[in-house]
Structures are given as C-alpha cells and as structure tokens.
C-alpha cells in the first residue's frame, strides 16, 4: 500500500453512467492487474474502492460507474484536480499461470480490471478471448480497446441490441471458444453461472462494501472454502474453488 496524491489528466463519460478517469502520479505500488485503489473524496468519511483498469509508470486509468454519492462526485471532477489515494491494494489476478488460451469474462463495471490483465496475457503470448457482457448496446464500453490489444472480443447484450443476445454464458457457448483457464469479474449471478458452466480452473474478482480497504477492520470478510478471508486483502481475486456460492 502506498499513499499517493494523483492529478486528474482526463475524466470523460464512456456511456450514460460509466466514466474513464486518467490520473498522473506514482503507480509503483500496483503490482498486479485486478488490484484496486481507494480514493478520498470531499465530505465523505470512508474512502471509495475503485478497481484499476490500466497502469503504467506515472499513469493510472480507472473506470467507474456512477452508483452513489462517491462516484457521483468523481464524475464531476475536472482535469488538474488532485485526488488523495491509497494504491496497490488487494491481491490481483495471477497472470503467471501455465495456461495457453485464457478466457476473460467481464460483466458491466466488472470489465475494467480485465483490461490490464488482457494486456499482460497477450504480452506473454497467450491466445486471449475476452467476453464482455452488458445489458444493452448503449452500455458497451472498451470493446475497441480490448480489440486493439489483440484479443478476440465477443460481446453479449441481455436485450440482443448488440452482439450475442443473452448472457456471457450464452456467448461462450455460441462461440465455441476453447479455453484452458478463466478470469472473471462482474455481478455475482454472472460469476456463479459462469463457474457452473465452465469446467476449467479460474479466478474470480469479488466486490464487497469495505471499511478500510487494507485489511484491518474486517468489514468485507467472506467465508471461503479455506476459511474467513478479507475481500480487500486476500482478495478481491479468489480462486474459483475458494468461493462458497
């Protein structure tokens, strides 16, 4: 964990409610895709945990959906604003598995952390298939960015307004994609359906309301097959077999 004051480089809407914020500052504490940062926002007591979409030296990209007071405030922040953050939080995705053809499945605002993971896996020469699930065409974001990384991208929309009609599990079945490992982040029902549908090993990123975000308050504990774990510290990424559904 590192305490860093970032400066906003850009903050733009990707859809009606999803925004991309690019920040300048020290990203050295971030070591894995799937980790998160915690932002201190004006007038709010607790910091807000936001997953890291992408990071390079001195540059951090966050994608967030406006769902409450914190993210509402974030959406109004402008270029040049300073943001107080704790970075390098949580245990991210393991991008050093022996798989050759990983399947990355994201649902809604579960999509962002898969971006840097895709980048890493492609850099390691893996055949990456990315399945992105949204409710409707207007909610789709980052499809082109994933394609630009060199991944095979399949999009599913629940209402059929773009790509495969249905859920990510339908899109996977229809595509006949052959995968030997999966990584996923998204709503719980999607994660559960996916885990049931796939008989390969994989990793899942969970979400939970947090107090501290760095492992001291036990606010975000979940019971796993290996005992109580903290989503903010041992997680947010867990192995498939650790999850108690």
């Amino acid at each position: 964990m590192k305490h860093v004051v970032f400066e906003i480089v850009s903050n733009r809407a990707l859809t009606d409610s999803v925004y991309e914020m690019v920040l300048a500052g020290d990203t050295s504490a971030i070591t894995r895709p799937g980790q998160f940062v915690e932002l201190s926002l004006e007038g709010l007591f607790l910091r807000r945990p936001i997953s890291v979409c992408n990071y390079d030296e001195g540059k951090l990209t966050l994608i967030y959906k406006v769902v409450g007071k914190g993210t509402e405030q974030m959406a109004h922040l402008t270029q040049g604003t300073k943001i107080d953050a704790l970075t390098g939080l949580g245990n991210g995705f393991n991008d050093e598995t022996k798989c050759n053809a990983p399947l990355l499945v994201g649902g809604g605002v579960g999509v962002p952390p898969l971006y840097r993971l895709t980048r890493n896996l492609i850099a390691k020469g893996k055949q990456v298939t990315v399945v992105l699930g949204f409710n409707t065409a207007a909610e789709i974001f980052y499809r082109e960015q994933f394609e630009a990384l060199g991944a095979k991208v399949i999009v599913a929309t629940a209402d059929g307004s773009y790509g495969v009609k249905g859920f990510v599990t339908d899109a996977i079945k229809e595509s006949g994609a052959k995968a030997d490992y999966f990584y996923s982040c998204g709503p719980l029902p999607m994660l559960r359906a996916l885990t049931t549908a796939l008989d390969i090993d994989g990793e899942i990123s969970l979400e939970e309301r947090m107090g501290c975000g760095f492992g001291i308050c036990m606010g975000c504990s979940i019971m796993t097959t290996a005992g109580a774990k903290r989503v903010c510290k041992e997680g947010p990424v867990f192995k498939k077999e650790e999850i108690v559904w």
Partner: protein, 304 residues
C-alpha cells in the same frame, strides 16, 4: 524545548498517550507494513473471544455524515489462535506494552479468556469489552447495567494480576453509575466510549444498509459525546480513563485529556487515514508548544 508526551496507566508507562482502538488496527501486522508502529503508545488489539468467530453477514459497513457504522460482529480467530499466532507476529514488530481486548458471551467466557492471556508478558493491560453493540446475548448487554458490569469486572479481576480496564458503552442512560459500579468491583481503569448504536436505510431499496440492520456508529461525529462522557466519568471516578470516540487530530487528543483521559484511543479515523495515529503523535509536540503545555500528563482532567 523537548515536550514530554509520556503518560501512565496503572503503573504502565507509555511513551505517548496514542493507542489505536480495538478493531481498527487488526493485530498490528498489516499496519507494521505501513509505518513503524513502535512510535505508538500501545496497541489495543482486535476484540478476542474464547472461540473463533466469523461475525456477521455482509454488508457490515455503512457510510454516515462524519462517521460510519460497522457491524463486524467480533470476527476473530479465538483466544488460543491469538496467543499462538497473532501475538508472536505482533511481538516481532512491536516492542511496547500491548492491551488485550477481550469479549465474551458469558462471565465464564470472559474469565477463561483473561486467564489464558494472563501469562502473556507483553500484554500489560486487559481491556474488557462489555459494550459491543453487534452481537446478541452478550457484549453490550453486560455493559448496560451497573450490576452486570460489576459482575464481569469482579469475575475477571479474580483471574488476572494485570490491570483491568472495562470498556464502556455509551448506549446507556447513566454512564456514571456503570463506571462507579466497575470501579467498586475492582476495575483498575475504564475505556470509553465504544460505538453508539446506529442504523442507516437504503431508501431506494427500502431496506437497512447493514445486513444485521443496526451497528456501531463511530468517527468524528461522536467526538463531543465521547468528550462529555469522559469528563463525567473522570470526575466521578478515581481510576484512570482511556478516552476514545471520534479522535482524529492532535488537538482532539489534547481535548480528550483535558476532559480527564490519561490516554487516548484512535478508532474509525484509522480506517480512512491509515497514518492517523502517526500524524497525531507527530503533531502533538507542535500543538503542545502552541498551547504552552510542557508535560502532557499535566493537562489530564485540567478542565473542571
């Protein structure tokens, strides 16, 4: 001029009065990666019960104006795991007196935990939590009547030679009568206040934010309540008081001590600012200089 930050709790010398409150610092190991925790006066470790507990379902946390509600429900690995795993890890990183925070669901459970922790040398104070609002049939129930608070105090005192501080609940009509009952039953000191029982409702979903419906409200918003209760109790009792509740700055710590606290715990602020205790300790000499305080212990209870 060198400012003297030291204070004493029942003969236990602390380099400074700043102590992370139980439940907001784990067992210290995570925080030792953040800064050198040996700058702290002491640490009150995560509330520990006889058996391991997972605690309450999530969500356990709710945001409030200038504070938060938690309903963790005393998640802890149990007293034996704390003695065999957590304390050895803390000892590697922390060389100051430790405060053991103990909870229970029966008087026997409190006494058994205290008996087991009694042989731990670095534990110099036992803090008995009779004020957890997040568990049923125990915790706060013991701290809401003078009789039951006194019963726990007497039972615990009988099994340990270490100073016993009773951590009191603010969710009572008359904190002074409960504090006096603890003192009369042999308590060596008192810690106050624990969290205030609170609740938030998600108005879009029309249901409580917290899975357990209610929880403990803490953070800056409760500071005036804590100062008031510390003042009342310190003036009514002879035993030392550890002031706790909404402390966020060095000025808050000074205010708490002027109200009557011999030491000060910092709780919820640690969760939003992991460097809170460090910053308070670093700022104390400057605040003392500004206020003309040479020795911090001189201001304990100075406000009448």
């Amino acid at each position: 001029m060198v400012r003297d930050l030291s204070t004493t709790l029942c003969g236990v010398e602390l380099d400074n009065p700043i102590i992370p409150a139980s439940g907001t610092f784990g067992f210290g190991a995570e925080m030792a990666d953040v800064y050198d925790i040996n700058i702290l006066g002491s640490i009150s470790f995560k509330g520990t019960t006889l058996d391991s507990r997972f605690g309450n379902p999530t969500p356990r946390i709710a945001e409030c104006s200038a504070g938060m509600i938690n309903s963790v429900g005393l998640q802890n690995p149990g007293i034996d795991a704390v003695i065999n795993h957590e304390l050895p890890e803390l000892r590697k990183r922390f060389h100051k007196p430790i405060i053991a925070n103990i909870s229970g669901f029966s008087i026997d459970e409190y006494t058994e935990c205290c008996r087991r922790i009694d042989s731990e040398k670095q534990v110099e104070i036992i803090e008995v939590n009779v004020s957890c609002p997040n568990v049923h049939n125990g915790g706060m129930a013991f701290g809401t009547s003078p009789e039951s608070a006194a019963a726990v105090t007497a039972a615990v005192k009988a099994v340990t030679t270490k100073p016993v501080f009773i951590k009191l609940s603010p969710n009572v009509t008359d904190i002074v009568s409960i504090a006096r009952a603890c003192e009369d039953a042999g308590a060596d000191g008192l810690t106050l206040i624990n969290t205030m029982l609170g609740m938030r409702i998600d108005i879009a979903r029309r249901r409580p934010v917290i899975a357990n419906k209610m929880g403990g409200f803490s953070g800056r918003a409760i500071f005036p309540v804590a100062v008031r209760m510390v003042y009342q109790v310190a003036n009514a009792c002879k035993i030392p008081v550890i002031g706790c509740g909404g402390v966020a700055t060095a000025e808050d710590a000074v205010e708490m001590m002027m109200a009557g606290a011999s030491a000060v715990q910092v709780g919820a602020e640690n969760l939003r600012n992991p460097f809170a205790c460090k910053q308070i300790i670093e700022n104390l000499p400057k605040v003392m200089e500004r206020l003309g305080i040479e020795r911090l212990r001189d201001i304990i209870g100075i406000v009448k």
